[in-house]
Assembly symmetry: C2
Homo-oligomer: 299 residues x 2
Amino acid sequence: MVECVPNFSEGRDAQKVSRIVSAIAATPETLVLHQTSDADHNRSVITFAGPPEAVFQSALAAAAAARDLIDLRAQRGAHPRLGALDVLPFVPLDGHTLEDCVQLAHEAGERIWRELRVPVYFYEAAARRPDRRKLEDVRRGEFEALSRESLVNEAKQPDIGGPGLHPTAGAVIVGARKFLIAFNINLKSNDIRVAREIARRIRTSSGGFPAVKALGLLLESRNMAQVSMNLTDFEQTGLDVVFGEVERLAREQGVEIAESELIGLMPRQALEQAAARMLKIDNFQSRRIVENAVEVMRR
Amino acid sequence: MVECVPNFSEGRDAQKVSRIVSAIAATPETLVLHQTSDADHNRSVITFAGPPEAVFQSALAAAAAARDLIDLRAQRGAHPRLGALDVLPFVPLDGHTLEDCVQLAHEAGERIWRELRVPVYFYEAAARRPDRRKLEDVRRGEFEALSRESLVNEAKQPDIGGPGLHPTAGAVIVGARKFLIAFNINLKSNDIRVAREIARRIRTSSGGFPAVKALGLLLESRNMAQVSMNLTDFEQTGLDVVFGEVERLAREQGVEIAESELIGLMPRQALEQAAARMLKIDNFQSRRIVENAVEVMRR
């Protein structure tokens, strides 16, 4: 099994999102596992899995549907974006390696440019240039600035296609990576400065925890500040660690956590590890869960 | 599948425990899922599962091995006990009901007396008298007092067998119940009064949480007070709830939690629910775990 977690720059028009999901699900062996849309972010994340060939076909169908349905010239939201299909990561599940997913990413990128005329940047494990490993570096400037810069600045050219971006669909950032947990914590405050300061304190890039990306946002529809996080390697930094630290830093500012939310899916091990640590279970093993123990014994 | 979780009054002699496990595992279709021994409690808990017929055979073999290996006249430990094989509960897993397990319990009880001459009391869903539904009521007085009382007091007679108990193996308390989570929290204190007071505050019988049994103990080998709990219906009161309350009550006495420990196994849902609540994930569903989502889609 391979997983694919495309992020689309449309989180408000349910009909458009539904058409994209249908395009993905049209490949019989693909399992659509989850979908979520956020109106403030104006973004949808669809998670699907299956054998590599099925996932590949569904990914191409997703790129085609996004190109036809989403016009970035009119699109606005709290979340930065470069493309209609903004990010297309392939993730190894059981029986596949990160290298398998790099190959899938490169083949998908070639086909997206050749068949849809949407340029492609490669990121993370699929990056072809060292300065493109990080998604945020590739996306810096977003659709508006990169539409111009990619025409005039060689360093901003897509890896495949161009020069310049697609006039309405921008570019697709295709990659391969480990399982990423998208986890947001909403604060009982509408002060975006509190969320931004907490995000700065916890993220890797400013000296916080390893394998953590974080942004402070304002959820306008709910008038609530949010610490929006990606945990890119939960074995290095788990859910309980960021939750505990966000709670502590918020309290220093006199702010409580309202609730948190999971975007998309997470691996079983991430929740089990977090729970065991929060409950201080010092002898925890995955096999202490009866369903897991039965699975292991039956193999 | 049916689960069986016998509790044996031997937690110090590894060789004896190993012989009991071998007796259980001798039935080919039985899966031994877990075993744990505690020297302070002088008690071992072995968890196994399988089709009802296999679990039934293994349960009889366990009773026979315990009768032959454990002599209660010499046995001492922190945990109360009435029998060598002290408690023999049958638990429904997928595809079986509590009623199926009541029938298994009654048949096992008949065979244990007929073949091993060890008397049997029935408890919980398998109880034949209303005052024997609760394990602690059946076990009150333990081996020493009940050996005498069961000879002279009709109300203390075993449900099957007797009069009196087996001279070295006592009696087996056989039952059927829902999944029980045995969860202990160790305190950074050797003051048993703190653990006892916390246990009193949280247990159902003195007005605490529903479906919680709790005792305060002293772990002599570690010089540590322990709140030892059974959660008899985690959907009513979960791990996070008792953990949070024990932490709060301990802090009122200036005591911190050292760590907690799980005895035996717990159902997947119990850990998922606890984790989601502790992380305040307000949109949590079991299907948000990728392995669960794949299982559901494949059905």
